[in-house]
Symmetry: C2
Subunit: 390 residues, 2 copies
Amino acid sequence: MADFKSNDIQLQSRFSHPPVVYDNLKELSTHIMLKVPEHQVAGHEARIGQLGPLIDGSGRFYKPLQDDDRGSKEVAFYTSFSSNTRVPDHVRKFFPVFHGTQLLKAPDGSGLVPHLVLEDVVSSRSLPTVMDIKIGSRTWYPEASEDYIQRCFKKDRETSSLYLGFRISGLQIYGNEESGLWKPERKLVQKLNADDVRVVLKKFVSSNSPADLNLEPDCSFASSVYGGSTGILAQLLELKAWFEDQTMYHLNSCSVLMVYEKERVLKGGSSDAEVKLIDFPHVTEGKGIIDHNFLGGLCSLIKFISEILTSPDECTTKVCLQDSDKNNKEILTSPDDCTAKVCLPDFDKNNKEILTSPDECTTKVCLQDSDKNNNCTENGTNEGINISNT
Amino acid sequence: MADFKSNDIQLQSRFSHPPVVYDNLKELSTHIMLKVPEHQVAGHEARIGQLGPLIDGSGRFYKPLQDDDRGSKEVAFYTSFSSNTRVPDHVRKFFPVFHGTQLLKAPDGSGLVPHLVLEDVVSSRSLPTVMDIKIGSRTWYPEASEDYIQRCFKKDRETSSLYLGFRISGLQIYGNEESGLWKPERKLVQKLNADDVRVVLKKFVSSNSPADLNLEPDCSFASSVYGGSTGILAQLLELKAWFEDQTMYHLNSCSVLMVYEKERVLKGGSSDAEVKLIDFPHVTEGKGIIDHNFLGGLCSLIKFISEILTSPDECTTKVCLQDSDKNNKEILTSPDDCTAKVCLPDFDKNNKEILTSPDECTTKVCLQDSDKNNNCTENGTNEGINISNT
């Protein structure tokens, strides 16, 4: 990995932003309108006397580089990754676009501080619901200092990382106008047990108030956000396939960021939920070995999310769907776990959601008895009902 | 998990062997012809003054239970697993059949020692080639004692476990009459680096002498043993699918045992290579979480073996095969990594080996130019040649 300092000039000239120097941050703000991001859920935050990430509100995210080798490692990773032709395009989309580095003057007068300039993957959305999940049952790596290893080892054991294979670093959920924003304390969410992690992952895709700890999450958005061919689960499965094969990078202590806008989901149509990989100050070379630590944790997260899709709370039975059979005879398409047989139309002129893949069991379907005209009868409505035992 | 002692009588009566008590091991040997297994590659061994596994030469393997809770944990696991209806049949075949427990008198006069009675997965074969691979980048688990955790942690870092996700616990390879048996020192093989592990995995499926450290392994048996729809890789992939889903057991510190008989491979036909999971004294309950530690290590092993299949040393180019096209037009069936296009017959009256799956690149093929009569022309012979850049 290249040493940042020696490559600084070259990096600056390779990318679109020439070095920009301002006398003070206020002047910088006037020019580029940098501000503290509202929707940051994990990692260092900009405060008085403490450098933190900044955004320009136009799609760029400025991350100050730590002055130890973590900063240079992250730049070196992004530089290597950006120009690595062995990374397939369908994988590249999971990484923030790299816009080089930029020197900005520190507000405390300490001088110029190099910043990583990245695609802002969150702030482009209004009222984003965001979760940062650090992947891997160990966040340390063999090449690290013994002191670092021991600190991470202790933290992995104290948080959910060791036994779940991942930990939630932070999250925020936009409820409705009444409930507002739920942004629980980071130290709390990192130490959640398996059941509580499940609840948080359900709250992430629910419409009822997340802040109410006694309220069962309704998982209303589970299929829109987690499910479907472009949902979060599908994206995680694409990543999983790459991690089963790539031996170039070990993404130690990296996070999966999951983002979507509740507004878009409520309006219908695709949720546009995105998965991004972020935070690369501890990336090491793969040296021909897959990142089995990351992969194991990713598979564990995939299992948690899959379970939410296949058995949302209200769904007490798995149903088997049929193709459009005019006689409405019961046809089981994937009967392994079916506990009830129902006949459903495969096209429904009134309902938006049509179940086509029996693996996913959502909470709303239009059910009917065997009715030759394919009308929804008393067991179903056009609005959809929850599946229950028939 | 059940406490062994209290369940001892029940266990004995549940299985086919009543408690057998002998006055001395010699008498036992006379009755059941127990002997020390020849082909054990890892784990405790029976010696003067030290209990170890015994076999009866008729398919049973007797493993003395350690007197701490490891013994009871292993019995509890086998008992639970044997009667667990949630384990699919295609997964059950990867576990040794459990025949209950049996009390045998210790040769040192110390009394009756409970033994686990299992299917002997190795000794039924003549001259087996065997490898024991301990799976997982950590061999410890959260529920263990702090002392145990620290000892395992140290060993995982000193061996290949941490960075590869697995370590070779032991192996033996039958060469030919000249080279005989190669059974390297266990402590050596556990600490191999990635490149040396690759060499050992190649030696495992090679016909030339494994003991000669300067000799490049020829990978002659790679496709028969590792490849094909019933080969070792296919079996590992079946296991992988189960580990992505099952949340019942965490197989801490368990091994994958790979076994085949070189004789059978040389005679042609299927290699009958088997994968078995063994050694369950440290199994803990999954409690709804996948065994991401085991899964990560298993995927790493799968990657190593896949690479041997797709790029054996003599194979310098990956070729794409065709279905039987009478006009011998080039048809790419899986072109992702293909660097050369060739036309091959899918039925060849003279060659035994016909490549049908382009994922595997073996060393012998019959190549031809486009010859309408499907005769092998000057680029190929009936014996087969190595694929080289054309």
